[in-house]
Protein backbone atom coordinates (compact mmCIF):
# COMPACT_ATOMS: atom_id res chain seq x y z
CA UNK A 1 0.00 0.00 0.00
CA UNK A 2 1.33 3.34 -0.97
CA UNK A 3 2.42 5.40 1.92
CA UNK A 4 0.00 8.25 2.14
CA UNK A 5 0.97 9.51 5.53
CA UNK A 6 0.86 13.25 5.39
CA UNK A 7 3.97 15.06 6.40
CA UNK A 8 3.38 17.72 8.96
CA UNK A 9 4.22 21.16 7.74
CA UNK A 10 6.90 22.51 9.99
CA UNK A 11 5.65 25.14 12.39
CA UNK A 12 8.29 27.49 13.61
CA UNK A 13 6.98 27.51 17.14
CA UNK A 14 8.40 24.14 17.99
CA UNK A 15 11.86 24.20 19.50
CA UNK A 16 13.67 22.62 16.56
CA UNK A 17 12.17 24.91 14.01
CA UNK A 18 12.68 27.95 16.23
CA UNK A 19 16.37 27.10 16.31
CA UNK A 20 16.33 26.83 12.54
CA UNK A 21 14.95 30.35 12.28
CA UNK A 22 17.35 31.73 14.84
CA UNK A 23 20.55 30.23 13.52
CA UNK A 24 21.47 33.33 11.54
CA UNK A 25 21.40 35.55 14.59
CA UNK A 26 24.73 37.24 15.22
CA UNK A 27 26.89 35.71 17.95
CA UNK A 28 28.81 38.71 19.21
CA UNK A 29 26.00 40.86 20.52
CA UNK A 30 26.61 43.61 23.08
CA UNK A 31 25.71 43.21 26.76
CA UNK A 32 26.01 39.39 26.89
CA UNK A 33 26.00 39.41 30.72
CA UNK A 34 22.67 41.22 30.90
CA UNK A 35 21.20 38.84 28.34
CA UNK A 36 22.40 35.83 30.34
CA UNK A 37 20.97 37.30 33.54
CA UNK A 38 17.62 37.91 31.87
CA UNK A 39 17.50 34.34 30.59
CA UNK A 40 18.39 33.09 34.07
CA UNK A 41 15.66 35.29 35.57
CA UNK A 42 13.16 33.85 33.10
CA UNK A 43 14.26 30.36 34.06
CA UNK A 44 13.94 31.21 37.75
CA UNK A 45 10.46 32.66 37.18
CA UNK A 46 9.27 29.38 35.71
CA UNK A 47 10.46 27.59 38.86
CA UNK A 48 8.51 29.87 41.18
CA UNK A 49 5.56 28.18 42.90
CA UNK A 50 3.25 30.97 41.80
CA UNK A 51 4.33 30.71 38.13
CA UNK A 52 1.13 30.69 36.04
CA UNK A 53 1.97 27.50 34.12
CA UNK A 54 -1.53 26.96 32.80
CA UNK A 55 -1.78 30.48 31.43
CA UNK A 56 1.69 30.31 29.86
CA UNK A 57 0.73 27.01 28.24
CA UNK A 58 -2.33 28.77 26.83
CA UNK A 59 -0.08 31.53 25.49
CA UNK A 60 2.14 28.92 23.82
CA UNK A 61 -0.91 27.29 22.25
CA UNK A 62 -2.03 30.65 20.91
CA UNK A 63 1.38 31.23 19.37
CA UNK A 64 0.80 28.22 17.11
CA UNK A 65 -1.91 30.24 15.33
CA UNK A 66 0.78 32.61 14.10
CA UNK A 67 3.42 30.03 13.33
CA UNK A 68 5.32 30.49 10.13
CA UNK A 69 4.61 27.57 7.84
CA UNK A 70 7.61 26.43 5.91
CA UNK A 71 9.06 23.24 4.52
CA UNK A 72 12.73 22.41 4.84
CA UNK A 73 14.47 22.41 1.42
CA UNK A 74 15.11 18.64 1.59
CA UNK A 75 11.68 17.65 2.94
CA UNK A 76 9.46 16.90 -0.05
CA UNK A 77 6.59 15.54 2.08
CA UNK A 78 6.45 18.77 4.07
CA UNK A 79 6.57 20.76 0.84
CA UNK A 80 3.62 18.77 -0.51
CA UNK A 81 1.66 19.34 2.71
CA UNK A 82 2.37 23.06 2.44
CA UNK A 83 1.20 23.06 -1.17
CA UNK A 84 -1.99 21.32 -0.13
CA UNK A 85 -2.64 23.86 2.57
CA UNK A 86 -1.96 26.84 0.31
CA UNK A 87 -4.24 25.36 -2.36
CA UNK A 88 -7.22 25.84 -0.10
CA UNK A 89 -8.02 29.25 -1.59
CA UNK A 90 -10.98 31.26 -0.36
CA UNK A 91 -13.46 33.03 -2.60
CA UNK A 92 -14.40 35.49 0.14
CA UNK A 93 -11.99 38.42 0.00
CA UNK A 94 -11.53 40.54 3.15
CA UNK A 95 -13.63 43.69 3.08
CA UNK A 96 -11.92 45.64 5.88
CA UNK A 97 -11.40 49.32 5.46
CA UNK A 98 -10.86 52.28 7.74
CA UNK A 99 -13.60 54.01 5.78
CA UNK A 100 -17.02 52.53 6.52
CA UNK A 101 -18.29 53.52 3.08
CA UNK A 102 -15.42 51.72 1.37
CA UNK A 103 -16.05 48.61 3.49
CA UNK A 104 -19.71 48.64 2.47
CA UNK A 105 -18.78 49.13 -1.19
CA UNK A 106 -16.36 46.19 -0.96
CA UNK A 107 -19.12 44.01 0.51
CA UNK A 108 -21.43 44.91 -2.34
CA UNK A 109 -18.76 44.17 -4.95
CA UNK A 110 -17.85 40.90 -3.22
CA UNK A 111 -21.47 39.79 -3.32
CA UNK A 112 -21.88 40.86 -6.93
CA UNK A 113 -18.89 38.97 -8.26
CA UNK A 114 -19.04 35.99 -5.90
CA UNK A 115 -20.38 33.58 -8.54
CA UNK A 116 -17.40 34.31 -10.80
CA UNK A 117 -14.76 34.39 -8.05
CA UNK A 118 -16.12 31.22 -6.50
CA UNK A 119 -16.01 29.45 -9.86
CA UNK A 120 -12.39 30.48 -10.29
CA UNK A 121 -11.39 29.57 -6.74
CA UNK A 122 -12.92 26.10 -7.16
CA UNK A 123 -10.74 25.55 -10.21
CA UNK A 124 -7.65 26.85 -8.42
CA UNK A 125 -8.43 24.50 -5.55
CA UNK A 126 -8.77 21.60 -7.97
CA UNK A 127 -5.48 22.59 -9.59
CA UNK A 128 -3.90 22.66 -6.16
CA UNK A 129 -5.17 19.18 -5.36
CA UNK A 130 -3.89 17.90 -8.70
CA UNK A 131 -0.48 19.45 -8.05
CA UNK A 132 -0.50 17.89 -4.60
CA UNK A 133 -1.15 14.49 -6.17
CA UNK A 134 1.80 14.99 -8.51
CA UNK A 135 3.93 15.96 -5.54
CA UNK A 136 2.84 12.91 -3.56
CA UNK A 137 3.52 10.60 -6.49
CA UNK A 138 6.94 12.15 -6.96
CA UNK A 139 7.68 11.87 -3.25
CA UNK A 140 6.59 8.23 -3.29
CA UNK A 141 8.82 7.43 -6.27
CA UNK A 142 11.80 9.33 -4.84
CA UNK A 143 11.47 7.46 -1.56
CA UNK A 144 11.34 4.13 -3.40
CA UNK A 145 14.43 5.04 -5.39
CA UNK A 146 16.24 6.20 -2.27
CA UNK A 147 15.42 2.89 -0.59
CA UNK A 148 16.67 0.99 -3.67
CA UNK A 149 19.92 3.03 -3.77
CA UNK A 150 20.45 2.33 -0.07
CA UNK A 151 19.89 -1.37 -0.64
CA UNK A 152 22.34 -1.43 -3.56
CA UNK A 153 24.95 0.47 -1.55
CA UNK A 154 24.62 -2.04 1.27
CA UNK A 155 25.08 -4.93 -1.19
CA UNK A 156 28.06 -3.19 -2.77
CA UNK A 157 29.68 -2.72 0.62
CA UNK A 158 29.07 -6.37 1.36
CA UNK A 159 30.69 -7.38 -1.95
CA UNK A 160 33.65 -5.07 -1.28
CA UNK A 161 34.07 -6.71 2.12
CA UNK A 162 34.02 -10.21 0.62
CA UNK A 163 36.57 -9.21 -2.03
CA UNK A 164 38.92 -7.85 0.63
CA UNK A 165 38.74 -11.15 2.51
CA UNK A 166 39.27 -13.31 -0.63
CA UNK A 167 41.11 -11.44 -3.46
CA UNK A 168 40.90 -14.54 -5.77
CA UNK A 169 37.18 -13.76 -6.27
CA UNK A 170 37.90 -10.44 -8.04
Amino acid sequence: MARRARATVRFLTDARAHDALSRDLPRDLPRPDVRAEIEAAAQAATARPDFPSEYVDRVREQSARFALRTAAPDDIRAAVALLEEQSNVQALAPVDSRNRGVATAKQVVRKAVFFAVNHLSEQVRALGWAATSVGEAAAERIEQLEARVLELETRLHALDGREAEDPSQS
Binding site: S22, P26, A41
Partner: protein, 364 residues
Protein backbone atom coordinates in the same frame (compact mmCIF):
# COMPACT_ATOMS: atom_id res chain seq x y z
CA UNK B 1 25.51 69.95 -14.02
CA UNK B 2 25.42 66.24 -13.14
CA UNK B 3 21.91 64.91 -12.66
CA UNK B 4 21.13 62.40 -9.88
CA UNK B 5 17.44 61.57 -9.87
CA UNK B 6 15.68 59.32 -7.37
CA UNK B 7 13.04 56.80 -8.43
CA UNK B 8 10.62 54.87 -6.25
CA UNK B 9 7.28 53.15 -6.92
CA UNK B 10 5.34 54.87 -4.13
CA UNK B 11 6.29 58.22 -2.70
CA UNK B 12 4.63 59.04 0.63
CA UNK B 13 5.77 61.92 2.75
CA UNK B 14 5.27 60.21 6.08
CA UNK B 15 7.01 56.89 5.63
CA UNK B 16 10.69 56.40 6.40
CA UNK B 17 11.76 55.94 2.77
CA UNK B 18 9.70 58.93 1.61
CA UNK B 19 11.28 61.23 4.18
CA UNK B 20 14.72 59.81 3.40
CA UNK B 21 14.16 60.55 -0.29
CA UNK B 22 13.24 64.17 0.41
CA UNK B 23 16.28 64.68 2.62
CA UNK B 24 18.56 63.08 0.09
CA UNK B 25 17.23 65.35 -2.64
CA UNK B 26 18.08 68.38 -0.49
CA UNK B 27 21.57 67.01 0.14
CA UNK B 28 22.11 66.42 -3.57
CA UNK B 29 20.83 69.83 -4.57
CA UNK B 30 22.93 71.55 -1.89
CA UNK B 31 25.95 69.67 -3.22
CA UNK B 32 25.34 71.08 -6.70
CA UNK B 33 23.56 68.16 -8.38
CA UNK B 34 20.41 68.55 -10.42
CA UNK B 35 18.06 66.24 -8.55
CA UNK B 36 14.37 65.38 -8.70
CA UNK B 37 12.12 62.62 -7.37
CA UNK B 38 10.18 60.41 -9.79
CA UNK B 39 7.45 58.01 -8.70
CA UNK B 40 4.40 56.12 -9.97
CA UNK B 41 2.11 56.56 -6.99
CA UNK B 42 2.63 60.01 -5.49
CA UNK B 43 0.67 60.63 -2.28
CA UNK B 44 -1.33 63.80 -1.90
CA UNK B 45 0.84 65.26 0.89
CA UNK B 46 3.93 65.27 -1.33
CA UNK B 47 2.27 65.82 -4.70
CA UNK B 48 4.29 68.98 -5.36
CA UNK B 49 7.58 67.31 -4.43
CA UNK B 50 7.74 64.66 -7.14
CA UNK B 51 7.22 64.10 -10.85
CA UNK B 52 5.48 61.17 -12.54
CA UNK B 53 8.03 58.51 -13.50
CA UNK B 54 6.57 58.39 -16.99
CA UNK B 55 7.76 61.95 -17.60
CA UNK B 56 11.46 61.25 -17.06
CA UNK B 57 12.45 61.10 -20.73
CA UNK B 58 11.02 64.60 -21.25
CA UNK B 59 12.48 66.06 -18.06
CA UNK B 60 13.60 69.67 -18.06
CA UNK B 61 17.33 70.42 -18.23
CA UNK B 62 18.18 66.92 -19.48
CA UNK B 63 21.89 66.28 -19.99
CA UNK B 64 24.04 63.31 -20.98
CA UNK B 65 25.47 63.19 -17.47
CA UNK B 66 22.55 61.68 -15.59
CA UNK B 67 22.25 58.97 -12.94
CA UNK B 68 19.26 57.21 -11.46
CA UNK B 69 19.21 56.19 -7.81
CA UNK B 70 16.42 53.63 -7.42
CA UNK B 71 15.00 53.03 -3.94
CA UNK B 72 14.51 49.28 -3.80
CA UNK B 73 12.17 47.81 -1.20
CA UNK B 74 9.54 45.92 -3.19
CA UNK B 75 8.95 44.39 -6.62
CA UNK B 76 7.46 46.81 -9.14
CA UNK B 77 7.27 47.16 -12.90
CA UNK B 78 8.87 50.60 -12.52
CA UNK B 79 12.23 48.92 -11.93
CA UNK B 80 12.03 47.06 -15.24
CA UNK B 81 11.04 50.29 -16.99
CA UNK B 82 13.93 52.18 -15.40
CA UNK B 83 16.39 49.54 -16.56
CA UNK B 84 15.32 50.19 -20.13
CA UNK B 85 16.34 53.85 -19.88
CA UNK B 86 19.75 54.70 -21.24
CA UNK B 87 20.95 56.04 -17.89
CA UNK B 88 23.33 54.42 -15.36
CA UNK B 89 21.40 53.00 -12.41
CA UNK B 90 22.40 52.70 -8.79
CA UNK B 91 20.36 51.24 -5.96
CA UNK B 92 19.53 52.51 -2.53
CA UNK B 93 18.70 49.13 -1.06
CA UNK B 94 16.22 49.14 1.82
CA UNK B 95 15.69 45.37 1.75
CA UNK B 96 12.74 43.28 0.54
CA UNK B 97 10.66 41.45 3.13
CA UNK B 98 10.73 37.68 2.77
CA UNK B 99 7.48 36.57 1.13
CA UNK B 100 7.17 33.59 3.50
CA UNK B 101 5.88 35.91 6.22
CA UNK B 102 2.95 37.05 4.09
CA UNK B 103 1.71 33.99 2.17
CA UNK B 104 -0.98 32.97 4.61
CA UNK B 105 -2.06 36.49 5.52
CA UNK B 106 -1.76 38.61 2.38
CA UNK B 107 -0.79 36.59 -0.71
CA UNK B 108 -0.91 39.64 -2.98
CA UNK B 109 1.77 41.36 -0.91
CA UNK B 110 3.80 38.14 -0.90
CA UNK B 111 3.72 38.11 -4.69
CA UNK B 112 5.19 41.61 -4.93
CA UNK B 113 7.91 40.57 -2.48
CA UNK B 114 8.77 37.53 -4.59
CA UNK B 115 8.82 39.73 -7.67
CA UNK B 116 11.13 42.12 -5.83
CA UNK B 117 13.55 39.32 -5.03
CA UNK B 118 13.46 38.17 -8.66
CA UNK B 119 14.14 41.67 -9.99
CA UNK B 120 16.92 42.18 -7.49
CA UNK B 121 18.64 38.89 -8.32
CA UNK B 122 18.64 39.76 -12.00
CA UNK B 123 19.68 43.38 -11.62
CA UNK B 124 22.15 43.40 -8.71
CA UNK B 125 25.16 42.29 -10.77
CA UNK B 126 24.47 44.88 -13.45
CA UNK B 127 23.68 48.05 -11.51
CA UNK B 128 26.62 50.46 -11.20
CA UNK B 129 26.61 50.42 -7.41
CA UNK B 130 24.36 50.05 -4.39
CA UNK B 131 23.97 51.94 -1.18
CA UNK B 132 22.58 49.91 1.72
CA UNK B 133 20.86 51.14 4.90
CA UNK B 134 22.67 48.61 7.05
CA UNK B 135 25.46 46.05 6.96
CA UNK B 136 22.77 43.37 6.82
CA UNK B 137 21.40 44.90 3.61
CA UNK B 138 24.88 45.33 2.20
CA UNK B 139 25.71 41.64 2.77
CA UNK B 140 22.56 40.67 0.85
CA UNK B 141 23.31 42.88 -2.11
CA UNK B 142 26.95 41.73 -2.26
CA UNK B 143 25.79 38.09 -2.16
CA UNK B 144 23.61 38.86 -5.17
CA UNK B 145 26.65 39.99 -7.14
CA UNK B 146 26.76 43.77 -6.78
CA UNK B 147 30.42 44.79 -6.91
CA UNK B 148 30.44 48.38 -5.66
CA UNK B 149 28.61 48.92 -2.39
CA UNK B 150 28.60 51.12 0.70
CA UNK B 151 26.56 51.29 3.88
CA UNK B 152 24.70 54.60 4.10
CA UNK B 153 21.92 54.63 6.70
CA UNK B 154 18.48 56.11 6.19
CA UNK B 155 18.57 59.88 6.69
CA UNK B 156 16.70 60.86 9.86
CA UNK B 157 16.34 64.40 11.08
CA UNK B 158 15.74 64.03 14.80
CA UNK B 159 14.83 67.72 15.16
CA UNK B 160 11.52 66.70 13.55
CA UNK B 161 10.69 65.01 16.85
CA UNK B 162 11.23 68.14 18.91
CA UNK B 163 7.84 69.51 17.99
CA UNK B 164 4.89 69.59 20.43
CA UNK B 165 3.05 66.28 21.00
CA UNK B 166 -0.71 65.95 20.74
CA UNK B 167 -1.74 67.67 23.98
CA UNK B 168 -5.05 65.84 24.43
CA UNK B 169 -3.59 62.39 23.92
CA UNK B 170 -0.60 63.23 26.11
CA UNK B 171 -2.84 64.37 28.97
CA UNK B 172 -5.07 61.33 28.62
CA UNK B 173 -2.13 58.93 28.75
CA UNK B 174 -0.55 60.77 31.66
CA UNK B 175 -3.80 60.45 33.60
CA UNK B 176 -3.85 56.70 32.94
CA UNK B 177 -0.19 56.33 33.90
CA UNK B 178 -0.81 58.11 37.20
CA UNK B 179 -2.98 55.16 38.21
CA UNK B 180 0.00 52.80 38.00
CA UNK B 181 1.16 50.04 35.66
CA UNK B 182 3.90 50.26 33.07
CA UNK B 183 3.48 51.08 29.40
CA UNK B 184 4.88 48.97 26.58
CA UNK B 185 5.10 50.47 23.12
CA UNK B 186 5.73 48.93 19.72
CA UNK B 187 5.77 51.11 16.60
CA UNK B 188 5.67 49.97 13.00
CA UNK B 189 3.33 48.71 10.32
CA UNK B 190 1.23 45.91 11.77
CA UNK B 191 2.63 43.14 9.62
CA UNK B 192 3.39 39.42 10.03
CA UNK B 193 7.17 39.88 9.65
CA UNK B 194 7.12 42.45 12.44
CA UNK B 195 5.59 39.82 14.74
CA UNK B 196 3.34 42.02 16.82
CA UNK B 197 1.77 38.73 17.93
CA UNK B 198 5.02 37.88 19.74
CA UNK B 199 4.89 41.24 21.51
CA UNK B 200 1.31 40.51 22.62
CA UNK B 201 2.20 37.01 23.81
CA UNK B 202 5.12 38.35 25.87
CA UNK B 203 2.98 41.19 27.18
CA UNK B 204 0.27 38.75 28.31
CA UNK B 205 2.85 36.76 30.26
CA UNK B 206 4.38 39.94 31.69
CA UNK B 207 1.01 41.06 33.05
CA UNK B 208 0.42 37.66 34.59
CA UNK B 209 3.85 37.36 36.24
CA UNK B 210 5.07 40.89 36.96
CA UNK B 211 2.64 43.74 36.43
CA UNK B 212 -1.11 43.07 36.15
CA UNK B 213 -1.81 46.74 35.42
CA UNK B 214 0.59 47.00 32.46
CA UNK B 215 -0.64 48.35 29.12
CA UNK B 216 0.53 47.77 25.56
CA UNK B 217 0.15 50.18 22.66
CA UNK B 218 0.70 48.99 19.11
CA UNK B 219 1.19 52.02 16.89
CA UNK B 220 0.98 51.46 13.15
CA UNK B 221 -1.34 50.97 10.24
CA UNK B 222 -2.40 47.55 9.02
CA UNK B 223 -0.78 45.87 6.05
CA UNK B 224 -2.58 42.52 6.14
CA UNK B 225 -6.26 42.50 7.11
CA UNK B 226 -6.32 38.87 8.21
CA UNK B 227 -3.30 39.35 10.45
CA UNK B 228 -4.81 42.50 11.94
CA UNK B 229 -8.01 40.62 12.78
CA UNK B 230 -6.07 37.66 14.17
CA UNK B 231 -4.26 40.00 16.57
CA UNK B 232 -7.56 41.36 17.87
CA UNK B 233 -8.84 37.82 18.39
CA UNK B 234 -5.59 36.95 20.17
CA UNK B 235 -6.07 39.85 22.58
CA UNK B 236 -9.59 38.59 23.39
CA UNK B 237 -8.46 34.98 23.81
CA UNK B 238 -5.61 35.92 26.15
CA UNK B 239 -7.83 38.19 28.23
CA UNK B 240 -5.74 41.29 27.51
CA UNK B 241 -8.09 43.12 25.14
CA UNK B 242 -8.69 45.87 27.70
CA UNK B 243 -4.96 46.43 28.11
CA UNK B 244 -3.95 46.52 24.44
CA UNK B 245 -4.50 49.53 22.19
CA UNK B 246 -4.29 49.27 18.41
CA UNK B 247 -3.92 52.85 17.24
CA UNK B 248 -3.84 52.22 13.48
CA UNK B 249 -2.27 55.16 11.61
CA UNK B 250 -1.44 58.13 13.88
CA UNK B 251 -0.41 61.71 13.28
CA UNK B 252 3.15 62.84 13.96
CA UNK B 253 1.98 64.74 17.06
CA UNK B 254 0.19 61.63 18.37
CA UNK B 255 3.30 59.53 17.78
CA UNK B 256 5.29 61.95 19.90
CA UNK B 257 2.69 61.67 22.70
CA UNK B 258 3.05 57.88 22.68
CA UNK B 259 6.85 58.03 22.89
CA UNK B 260 6.65 60.52 25.74
CA UNK B 261 4.44 58.24 27.85
CA UNK B 262 6.18 54.88 27.53
CA UNK B 263 8.36 52.76 29.82
CA UNK B 264 9.72 50.24 27.36
CA UNK B 265 9.86 49.91 23.57
CA UNK B 266 9.57 46.32 22.36
CA UNK B 267 10.54 45.16 18.86
CA UNK B 268 10.35 41.41 18.14
CA UNK B 269 10.45 41.63 14.35
CA UNK B 270 11.94 38.80 12.29
CA UNK B 271 12.86 40.97 9.33
CA UNK B 272 14.02 44.57 9.16
CA UNK B 273 16.25 46.36 6.70
CA UNK B 274 16.99 49.16 9.19
CA UNK B 275 14.11 50.11 11.58
CA UNK B 276 13.68 53.78 12.37
CA UNK B 277 11.29 53.43 15.38
CA UNK B 278 13.98 51.97 17.69
CA UNK B 279 16.01 55.15 17.13
CA UNK B 280 12.91 57.26 17.72
CA UNK B 281 12.45 55.47 21.04
CA UNK B 282 16.07 56.17 21.94
CA UNK B 283 15.58 59.82 21.04
CA UNK B 284 12.83 59.93 23.66
CA UNK B 285 15.00 58.12 26.25
CA UNK B 286 12.78 55.03 26.11
CA UNK B 287 14.77 51.83 26.75
CA UNK B 288 14.58 49.23 23.99
CA UNK B 289 14.14 45.45 24.10
CA UNK B 290 14.57 43.91 20.65
CA UNK B 291 14.98 40.54 18.98
CA UNK B 292 18.39 40.37 17.32
CA UNK B 293 17.20 39.41 13.84
CA UNK B 294 18.19 40.78 10.41
CA UNK B 295 19.35 44.44 10.54
CA UNK B 296 18.08 45.12 14.07
CA UNK B 297 21.48 44.61 15.78
CA UNK B 298 23.07 47.00 13.22
CA UNK B 299 20.65 49.73 14.22
CA UNK B 300 20.32 49.07 17.95
CA UNK B 301 24.04 48.54 18.63
CA UNK B 302 24.74 48.52 22.36
CA UNK B 303 21.84 50.85 23.12
CA UNK B 304 19.21 48.20 23.74
CA UNK B 305 18.72 44.72 25.14
CA UNK B 306 19.13 42.44 22.14
CA UNK B 307 17.55 39.05 22.72
CA UNK B 308 18.37 35.85 20.89
CA UNK B 309 15.37 34.09 22.40
CA UNK B 310 11.99 35.76 22.14
CA UNK B 311 9.92 33.25 24.03
CA UNK B 312 7.29 35.16 26.02
CA UNK B 313 8.80 34.42 29.43
CA UNK B 314 12.24 35.71 28.36
CA UNK B 315 10.86 38.92 26.81
CA UNK B 316 8.73 39.49 29.91
CA UNK B 317 11.80 39.00 32.11
CA UNK B 318 13.71 41.53 29.98
CA UNK B 319 10.97 44.13 30.37
CA UNK B 320 10.84 43.49 34.11
CA UNK B 321 14.61 43.87 34.35
CA UNK B 322 14.33 47.28 32.72
CA UNK B 323 11.57 48.28 35.12
CA UNK B 324 13.45 47.19 38.22
CA UNK B 325 17.05 48.04 37.31
CA UNK B 326 17.49 51.83 37.27
CA UNK B 327 21.20 51.54 36.61
CA UNK B 328 20.69 49.48 33.49
CA UNK B 329 17.94 51.82 32.33
CA UNK B 330 20.24 54.82 32.73
CA UNK B 331 23.04 53.06 30.90
CA UNK B 332 20.72 52.19 27.99
CA UNK B 333 19.33 55.70 27.80
CA UNK B 334 22.86 57.14 27.65
CA UNK B 335 23.90 54.65 24.99
CA UNK B 336 20.66 55.45 23.15
CA UNK B 337 21.52 59.14 23.00
CA UNK B 338 24.92 58.27 21.53
CA UNK B 339 23.23 55.97 19.03
CA UNK B 340 20.87 58.75 17.97
CA UNK B 341 23.87 61.03 17.55
CA UNK B 342 25.55 58.31 15.46
CA UNK B 343 22.55 58.21 13.11
CA UNK B 344 21.91 61.97 13.10
CA UNK B 345 21.70 63.58 9.69
CA UNK B 346 24.68 65.76 10.62
CA UNK B 347 26.75 62.54 10.42
CA UNK B 348 24.83 60.39 7.97
CA UNK B 349 24.19 63.17 5.44
CA UNK B 350 27.85 63.92 4.58
CA UNK B 351 28.61 60.19 4.81
CA UNK B 352 25.90 59.39 2.27
CA UNK B 353 27.04 62.14 -0.07
CA UNK B 354 30.67 60.97 0.17
CA UNK B 355 29.67 57.36 -0.52
CA UNK B 356 27.46 58.37 -3.43
CA UNK B 357 30.06 60.58 -5.15
CA UNK B 358 32.87 58.10 -4.51
CA UNK B 359 30.89 55.19 -5.97
CA UNK B 360 29.74 57.28 -8.94
CA UNK B 361 33.39 58.02 -9.71
CA UNK B 362 34.58 54.44 -9.12
CA UNK B 363 31.88 52.86 -11.23
CA UNK B 364 31.86 55.32 -14.13
Amino acid sequence: MTEVHQFLPTFAGRDAIGMHTLRLRKLLRDAGFDSDIYAVDIHEDVRAQARPASGFRNRPRATDDAWILYHFSIGHQLFDQVRELDVPIALDYHNVTDAKFFWRWEPRAATTMLEGRRQLAVAAPSVRFALADSEFNEREIIDLGCEHTAVAPILIDFTDYDTPPDATLLAERQRTRAQGGSDWLSVGRVAPNKCQHDVMLAFAVYRRIYDPRARLTLVGGQSAGLYWRALHTLAEDLGIAGAVTFTDVVSHAQLLAYYRTTDVFVLLSEHEGFNVPVLEAMHFDVPVVAFAASAVPDTVGDAGILLTDKSPVVVAAAAERLRSDALLRTSLVESGRKRVEHFSIARTGPHMLDALTRLMKESS
